[in-house]
Symmetry: D2
């Protein structure tokens, strides 16, 4: 309501009450102003009413909501269903233009602001989470895999002759496919076993670079967040190697924003060596629906090059989700989630250790993995060949989600490449195991319930000597396949 | 409510009333059943209450909504903001799996159904709209340009040596960039002028194929819907050429679903020759927010190959939008939109013709373009050099959106390629012109208002002999750049 | 967004686009301004986005949405459930104060404006609908019956000795109870039969007044809208009688706003005689959920007296519903509903006439009833005693709602008063009949479907000679009891 | 989704996943079943998704949502605005019938269930909150005052000759008006001062009864929750007196549900004497929007008599609000609110005590008031005549809501009755004071902020010797009048 309208209101109800109301409005405006000025995530979260007020204000600035607009183009932001219009707060025009996903749309000042602000707020959060020197980033409405593909496609224009991507092995299909889809040949570097941990084989990477010739290598494609017993790649050393050989370095930081360790690795890698871009999932780090990623980097012009590589406009949905979420949480709310996650990680480790020893198993020692844990299943394996996969099915039907069971010796062919020991990140890991992770948003209750059900499953399986078949586990119940991005 | 609960209800209120209520529920269930059985767009649109009932039912089947679920994975469908959860009807898990965007997710039966049903309903609509022999399709949460890129990347695996894409010129950046991004070299084939129309130069295409060698050509990339005076490509002939040379053929059918002519061209092309895939925008054809496309084809296995090329999960948002829209409209509602669009096309043509002659201009004769029209601006151009671009600014500030003004002689470099006469699809089109389109959802009022404002602008410009500057058109008011997808 | 914030926006996206957006915002503000200035229903309906923008603006002015508010009272507008807060657009404080339901609340300028504006807009609609000289009105969150009670309770303070209310009979329980609840003794005046119509017995009214003594009569309580063959009371004559005897006159105009005839009667009554207040249902006239009424009158101070009689605050829900509805429809939209209703009335009359004659029955001739129609059921009655009530059950189970079947000779005791011929407004109406009404919002399809089903029921009943029992009509299926307010 | 549809789903996605989904659905159904069976507030709160699923199920049972319904009545649940329909989850028919607000509607099984269940769940909460022997209750969409009026109107039919209501004074307009509106003469019994507390003058009540004659007394109208230094009435003794004289007893329990002490008083009163009905606010006890009340009693038939006294249907809005709220909170969630309120009461008392002594004032000793506290303002009064009222204005403009400032010697005429010392519940209370309350939903932050602002105001006023005028306190800023229901 503008000044004039407030004055009119004052004629209907007491001016002093209206004045109070107009001051209250200014309170919301102040929050919006600070956001526009600073482009940062507000320290304290906004109320839902401020968030919705703001989104409504943005929507009003898009031409599809102009009261006197007439449209004779082929893309006018018309919406047939009011249910759908409502989903988007009437911001229909998406983000970007044909030339650049970060560009401003003349028809849609509101959607353009949404886009810019989201990128700006997300950049702030990346800094807060540990990558202090990040220069630029943008939200893209594609999952991590396709976003990595876009990075590789961008690099192709810089290194037209390169055809290989060096990739320390991680058994996650979409990572691998991101390279295949971009048209490159992944060069898989097996990990080395250090204690229980699987870590980057730096020498093998060096060897491969020399073998293939640096100019033929598009980039090194490394990974932070991953399932134990694999641990985040040795980013500092890889970044140094890349710098030395002048090879680009793309980091898959899938769900690493939630871990200060992963973010620290990136920050350090960029400091001592070379990291061209790092890509992270929106849903896994910010508790929004699946479908978006953040592409970030330390060189603004390279990040812009990637954003210009995306042909055409894009959905505003993931941007809208993450902006609503971060405004509602505020930086303090997000940090609270991070610290709770960390605490529950310790709790989960403790609980899993206790449970493991009660069943004659052990918690694998993987101190470099800040999110995922693994418990051996040697004893279970000994009891019966099928017991390990059966455990997976049983957990699935008991509504334990996200706990992955990794048997030995599985082999899988992905796009022509054979992975031995698939899912375990190694050709022959010493033991089968079960994964559990403390990811953002997890609660103590999740852990407690999971332990209880896991305990019961293990008891049942042992008692029946592996012959156990819970009646709800019929033949058509596949084990939940490995939980890939 | 299940039978048992209905019985309990009958104890609280009269059983006969509850029976009536339970029969009414069955009415909704019947609609859902027919959808599940047939996988087709219902003839009559559903009420919003049926749509929401259905989406709620789907959501209940996803693990993030299980009442007893405990999650210890890194992707559990947690949502921090209830505003965001509500946007998705609590369907948080997105669509697809790492291996395939069309795959089923164990954790999310509801989201998986949403995905399958949407693709199935959309396939039905493609058939209804004229491509009766289409075999398969899927919705992808990327705009048309990026979707075309995905098609090209898929073809690369089939034709590893090919590096050229033959492309009858259309001045729309994201089409061009879709090829660049995929890493190919676009071979631009200029159009030929036939009367006022710009049409495919079939001989030039043949010549290029022979020149480059069929095996080096990844595909022909043709276009249906476009701005007049360019008209849809000669698809039948191109398809025949492709068949003859065994070259794949990808059609950009951007907003062609709304036109029976465009759809007929595709149907015929596939019948007499070769079309491997055709790609269309969700928002431009189905009045949903920007951000999705449909990739369709006549060979199920090739379409599946493309869907498997997308690495990782994807946003369910565009699928949700189009499913809600089509269920709400029903096939009959959608067809009604199509026929209204067609009628208004004639109305627009008539109005534009009248207006043109009143101003000493003429409606260009472009009978092959079923959506877009063009009116010459020769006289305006004559009055002043700047008058043509000024007209664009004036229309923009007067809230006429989508009307594009095309001056002569603009030159633009896009990714290293110089386009002379950019925006006009030809190096030197005979006259400057203005475009207006009758696209789905347009109303008679849009046309009437546009004509009125256009008339007023033209008068003003003429009176002032081109010196006209409406006061609201300050120096920082850029003309709205060409409206590209 | 205020000016300062728009300027900041201009730094993020092109100032010219933002300027366009800010102008667009002004468009919405202009609509709001006109509403605040004139307090009238806008001629053209607002878009949902303007409506929601406006409601959000109001909500921001209520103290429960102040960002810095601290509350230490017992009523602070706290809401435990966000689902509930959302239902009210966060307008939680209700309307009115302890002293007056129309009073302004210091804590809630927004809710107070909502209340004032609603009453003002509704007053405008009453004028538009035909009662041009209405002076004042207010929306009260009680249904018509309780609202009538409030009027009678207010009159008690003016006429402390009066104990009778003279009431031309209408067989609708809540009308009757409204008097009982207020503690008065209804004096039932039987209607006279004129042709098929049941009309006010003016002489009997006069007689009763003289019999009881004018000073002992609290008021005359008359009715406009009613089921045929009863027709609206002779308001002009009653109003004149009341004026003559100085007796107050309260009109139950339940669903009469939708009929220009009913409204005309009130306007005329007030012109030639005395009408103190007239009460109408919100839901029945404005297509909103059940639960509100409008109390209106020609003397502002008497209307205010009634509003001050309501002790305590009240729900804003009905006000919110009707305001949203009227702003969305606009005066023109509402008038369109009215004229459609009128047309369908003729259509229904025609259809019912045809159907009646096909079954040997006839459409009763009730030209003074502008909404409800009645078709005789003589033949059906003749075929079997139970056939008439059976018809009611059959229509109910076939989802024909609102069609009432009126058998002969029913007797009912309501609060100690025995009504012979209950439901037919007369002790012994000549024939049983079926009612159907053309009420606001009815569609042609409603009529067509109803006729089809009614036809089928009548056929079935006749064929079986009254022994018909559709299997879905078990013994526990009561006929839907008369449809009372 | 019914079994058949689940089977069809299993054909589209893996049957095992669908089975899991269908089991998950059963989880929600089980919750609903328990609710229907027991009619009690669930111990643990439901998720929003269960709540909305349930409401959607109810809506489907109402005839306005029947897919094949045709309506030819005057009340068909048509809704013009989809925004409005959505507010009600499409439950449009309201509650009750003309005969009884608790009656079942044939057209609306869903709304009828909503009504019954709400009353049943609310009854359960009343028991849990301390009135274990309550027999029956119903939610009525009127605020407390009007609900009390309805009780009195009902009693009139039992005691036609009675014209007085005995009422221990409480300075709250709507209580007083509830009697006036019902047409009775309130007999005000002044309170007695015991220490700082104002308590019921039992002897005066007895005296009045004898003076007027028991048969002329409609009822005693007592109050529990109130502003300190008044304390809840001596219910046990009053109930005993009523029993002795066979006079009905109606208790205004406005916001007493939140206090175990108030509820205990009612429970005890009913045990040892007579309480016919007790009335409480929905919004003040359950954190829902203003506009509903609960009428409860120990004799089911009397409660039913009241519910039958309400003429006509009523809004379902308050029922919907409280049902959503209680299902979402669960009994445990509600009890948590109650215990927090109690804790913060102690905190507030402590803080106020400290603040008072810092300013030379004192916390009045009112141990019998479990919700409201009062701090003397003797010193402030001494500094300047206007200082006390000024303090009220200052707090209002500083967004401290609910803190009431009570000066000495105010006189007010309400409906002809003169109250000396109005607002202080006594003709001449010894000192002016300020009220603050710990009501349900209050937070520690509310208290802390209030203390800080109050402290600052008191300092300012003292410094300026009462000449203080904050600039935002212009002449038109009325002090917020006493906060009455």
């Amino acid at each position: 309501m503008n000044g004039e309208n407030f004055t009119l209101c004052g004629k209907m109800v007491a001016p002093s009450y209206v004045r109070q109301g107009s001051q209250a409005r200014r309170g919301h405006e102040q929050l919006i102003r600070r956001l526009l000025e600073q482009g940062k995530c507000p320290e304290e979260g906004w109320s839902e009413s401020t968030v919705e007020l703001f989104l409504n204000e943005l929507a009003v600035m898009d031409s599809n909501n102009f009261l006197g607009n007439c449209g004779v183009g082929e893309r006018e932001g018309r919406v047939a269903s009011s249910l759908v219009a409502r989903r988007y707060y009437r911001l229909i025009h998406g983000i970007g233009r044909s030339g650049d996903i970060a560009a401003v749309q003349p028809k849609a000042a509101g959607s353009s602001l949404l886009n810019k602000l989201t990128n700006s707020v997300v950049l702030d959060i990346l800094k807060i989470s540990g990558v202090r020197s990040v220069a630029s980033c943008f939200v893209v409405p594609m999952a991590t895999g396709m976003s990595l593909t876009l990075c590789f496609l961008t690099l192709r224009h810089r290194r037209p002759r390169a055809q290989y991507i060096i990739w320390p092995r991680i058994d996650q299909k979409s990572c691998f496919k991101s390279m295949i889809t971009a048209g490159f040949e992944p060069v898989v570097v097996e990990n080395v076993l250090e204690g229980d941990e699987l870590r980057t084989d730096l020498e093998a990477v060096e060897r491969k670079i020399e073998e293939l010739g640096a100019e033929n290598v598009l980039c090194v494609h490394s990974t932070t967040s991953c399932f134990a017993p694999r641990v985040p790649d040795r980013l500092e050393e890889l970044a140094a190697t890349c710098a030395k050989h002048e090879i680009p370095h793309i980091v898959n930081n899938a769900y690493g924003v939630q871990s200060s360790k992963c973010m620290h690795l990136i920050q350090q890698g960029a400091r001592v060596g070379r990291i061209d871009a790092f890509v992270q999932s929106l849903d896994k780090n910010f508790m929004v629906p699946v479908g978006g990623a953040i592409i970030a980097g330390f060189d603004e012009s390279f990040v812009q090059e990637i954003s210009k590589m995306y042909p055409g406009r894009a959905s505003a949905s993931p941007s809208l989700d993450v902006l609503i979420t971060l405004l509602t949480l505020g930086a303090s709310g997000y940090k609270k989630y991070l610290s709770e996650r960390k605490e529950i990680y310790s709790f989960l480790a403790q609980e899993l250790k206790t449970l493991a020893s009660a069943h004659g198993e052990r918690l694998l020692h993987t101190p470099h993995n800040p999110i995922s844990l693994a418990m051996s299943l040697d004893g279970l394996q000994a009891s019966s060949d099928q017991a390990v996969t059966q455990l997976g099915s049983m957990l699935f039907t008991r509504q334990v989600s996200g706990a992955r069971v990794i048997p030995l010796g599985r082999e899988q062919v992905v796009n022509g490449h054979t992975f031995r020991g698939f899912m375990s990140h190694a050709e022959s890991y010493p033991c089968p195991y079960l994964n559990a992770a403390s990811a953002i948003g997890i609660t103590r209750e999740d852990v407690t319930l999971c332990m209880k059900r896991l305990d019961r499953c293990l008891r049942t399986l042992k008692k029946d000597g592996g012959a156990a078949r819970s009646c709800s586990t019929g033949p058509d119940v596949d084990q939940e396949a490995p939980d890939e991005e």
